[in-house]
Subunit: 251 residues, 2 copies
């Protein structure tokens, strides 16, 4: 009989997309198993084993192509925004249905595009499966466009969301209370501050996105998040989505 505990299956040693899911559990104070935190060998084989065709189709679950993967009871899900959509109402971080569920999902998908997916492209613009070292020139060009055009565009979008939401007093993106969208934006800002420290400093100091950076600080001070960030459960950034390559920063 499958356990009813939440189990996250993700690559070890990087925050990566798994981090977007961990933050929900940590904010909610809900227990979860995290295969990335086991010995490195077993952490990797937890992922590769879940992607094997042999694992497919059990209990009506379709095969999954890539992690993160969430197991909950007999259910196996993948795709970051899908897992977030499933978890949010169960962890008190978003509505279970109705217009608000879709509005929030639209916000989250857009934040993931701008602060996660496009960041991976900055260091792997022409060959997804090849090493960064073999596409440095192209990465410089893509990163320039990201730093100068895309990142400010997505920051402006987040700022606009915060200015448009008049439903509450808090610093939150939607509906006047903390939702999983705020945690996603937090992680995006945090990861980008690691990857592009000079650019992010300048963008912060521009004063154009004050509400965004205020939200970032507010999430950081949530008791569950604060304890998590200080713990050894929070993996340091390294060779995942958010990487620091000085040559990809501004001159």
């Amino acid at each position: 009989m499958p356990s009813n505990e939440y189990k996250l299956i993700y690559w070890p040693e990087v925050p990566g997309r798994g981090e977007l899911i961990r933050l929900l559990f940590e904010e909610a104070g809900v227990a979860y198993t995290d295969t990335a935190k086991g010995p490195s060998d077993s952490a990797v084989s937890a992922v590769t084993g879940s992607l094997s065709p042999k694992s497919a189709g059990g209990s009506g679950n379709p095969p999954v192509l890539a992690p993160p993967i969430l197991q909950h009871g007999g259910l196996v899900l993948n795709q970051t925004p899908n897992i977030l959509l499933y978890l949010a109402p169960r962890l008190g971080l978003g509505p279970a249905d109705g217009d608000s569920m879709f509005r929030l999902n639209g916000i989250v998908l857009t934040l993931l595009d701008g602060f996660v997916n496009e960041v991976h492209e900055t260091h792997h613009p022409v060959a997804t499966l090849d090493y960064y070292e073999n596409q440095k020139t192209e990465a410089r060009r893509r990163s320039k466009g990201y730093r100068q055009e895309r990142l400010p565009k997505f920051l402006a979008y987040a700022q606009q969301l915060l200015e448009a939401d008049t439903s509450g007093e808090g610093p939150w993106l939607y509906g006047g209370q903390l939702t999983y969208a705020d945690l996603v934006l937090f992680q995006g800002i945090d990861g980008n501050t690691f990857a592009f420290p000079k650019t992010m400093k300048k963008l912060k100091e521009s004063g154009k996105y004050d509400d965004v950076f205020q939200l970032y600080e507010a999430v950081k001070q949530r008791p569950g998040i604060k304890a998590y960030l200080a713990s050894d459960r929070r993996a340091p950034y390294s060779q995942g989505i958010w990487r620091y390559y000085p040559e990809l920063e501004e001159d």
Copy 2:
């Protein structure tokens, strides 16, 4: 009072991501307004007007960053997978809740990654906002990786889904009946057959993905889809996501 009719707001003159949404209406035989089909000027201003900060926040709708956009009653949604998730149960093309809703959403997000999002990167790998002509060399490299590694990977995923689903007799991806996931896969195969005709012919003839190509034909023969494809509502491919550049194909 807002109309309760479905209204799609999208760029004119290309199928693009709007097509993924149109196919649901056309399969279901449900009326919808499509701003792309008006005069080109008004079609463009329907999009740009919806993205204006001035449009934001009405009736509790957050601002949207990019089309496609769906209006339904007072609700305004963006993000393709979000709009599809909203429409599917309303058009009889997917479940409204429960584990199946999430399993299907995971499938659809993965298909969109592989057959839509990564295709756009093939011709715009290093400068999202610049012309293709200014990134042709990089596009050749990205396209090679897409043709040789990524596209076969996503086709194999779809084939694996079809082999794993033992719940019905039909050619469909999930649950033994046609869902919106099948329409998304259809559009992905159709678009890629335009963009990479030689590659797709070879992949089809490999015999490794027979169920995928069988599903493609089955969707094409659905009465609503067949009538749509023969109508002038179906925009020809041009300079959108699926583009044909001979130099990006195999030698």
